[in-house]
Subunit: 238 residues, 2 copies
Amino acid sequence: MNDKHIVSSFDRDLESIQASVIKMGGLVEAALADAITALKTRDVEKAAMVRKGDRFIDELDQVVKTDAAKLIALRSPTASDLRTVLSVMEISSHLERCGDYAKNMGKRTIAMADSNEINGTLASLGRMSQFVEAMIKDALDAFVQRDLEKAREIIARDEEADQIYNTLFRSLLTHMMEDHRNIAVGMHLHFIAKNIERVGDHATGIAEQTIYLVTGQMPDDDRPKQDVPAVDTSESKG
Amino acid sequence: MNDKHIVSSFDRDLESIQASVIKMGGLVEAALADAITALKTRDVEKAAMVRKGDRFIDELDQVVKTDAAKLIALRSPTASDLRTVLSVMEISSHLERCGDYAKNMGKRTIAMADSNEINGTLASLGRMSQFVEAMIKDALDAFVQRDLEKAREIIARDEEADQIYNTLFRSLLTHMMEDHRNIAVGMHLHFIAKNIERVGDHATGIAEQTIYLVTGQMPDDDRPKQDVPAVDTSESKG
């Protein structure tokens, strides 16, 4: 049974803003998928489209921010409702940044169009990208449903994303050490991997907003995050 | 002569929020300077302090966002004033992200504490960091003074920051190719260089908000940005 029989004007306005955020999420997922496809297939045109398409994500971010501000101005929401609007604005910023990462992947695909592939790396990047796309999608679902458990589960998944990134980091380093012709392209692939890993961080940021909304407190930020592998300068590998 | 004899309540509230943003700017500059010093002197404790100190920048960001929302709720500002408050919120987000980059530099300094130095790179990183610190400071000045010329000059300076980054990118690549023991530490230094370059982008983002406020239009985002060097896979260098 639903306790809330009367939907307030505030709720209606908020839902319309949330719809824009969900739309942004869809664009971000598509941009990431297209960026990876462009990278895998050396499709410079598709990469250029991802790069240009980021404009639409940026525009939606502006729409969300402006609509949210108008809602605040019009309804003067109190503590909890105000927090909700601020959360929606923060989530919009997270998605806008994810769009920037997809755009950067497009740029790098164009820059490395004529380079050699490094064995297996593109497949790993593709899997990692699918993993964080799902995190974004689920983080938005958790937000819309105010689902605390789902939100916490996203944060746990980010540790897995970090581990995938670290494995890829070490694998790329090995390839670069084995053949110096791999170094330049390895650098770009590293940055692409880092971009994808950062999308996972933003999914976590979105999940944290949900936790904040439901519990009134941000989760502790000091969890041990393994996103900067230590440097092993020994030469024992060779 | 000042045309505005009567300072509105809105202006007073806004000034107090702007003061928080300026304070954030100061913390970001200090965090960047400390992160570079920690890197140069292999000072793991200082690096850890930078990492922890990011919390204060994040907290100020929260304060700015909440105060801005309260101002909107209380005063229901109209078009131009609303735009100003939204700009202050965006600038706060830019600074928060700069804080994240300084924090990441701290993390990387800790991760590479026992590695070899790559000739001259730390000095270059130091110069690049001072360059973007000044950009942040001047971008905030331009915003407070609504100085269109100054804001445009920041955007021009970002091209120089990109060039410094590209030079450093190529120099690091060369070192990595010459001696594979440089590869792992070179990767970390690359990411640090990229972090610094991104701070320049955020200074540009702040300058763009000023241009938006004064002219009512965002500057064209499609300027040719040289922040992703093309990959040269030929071996002619060796």
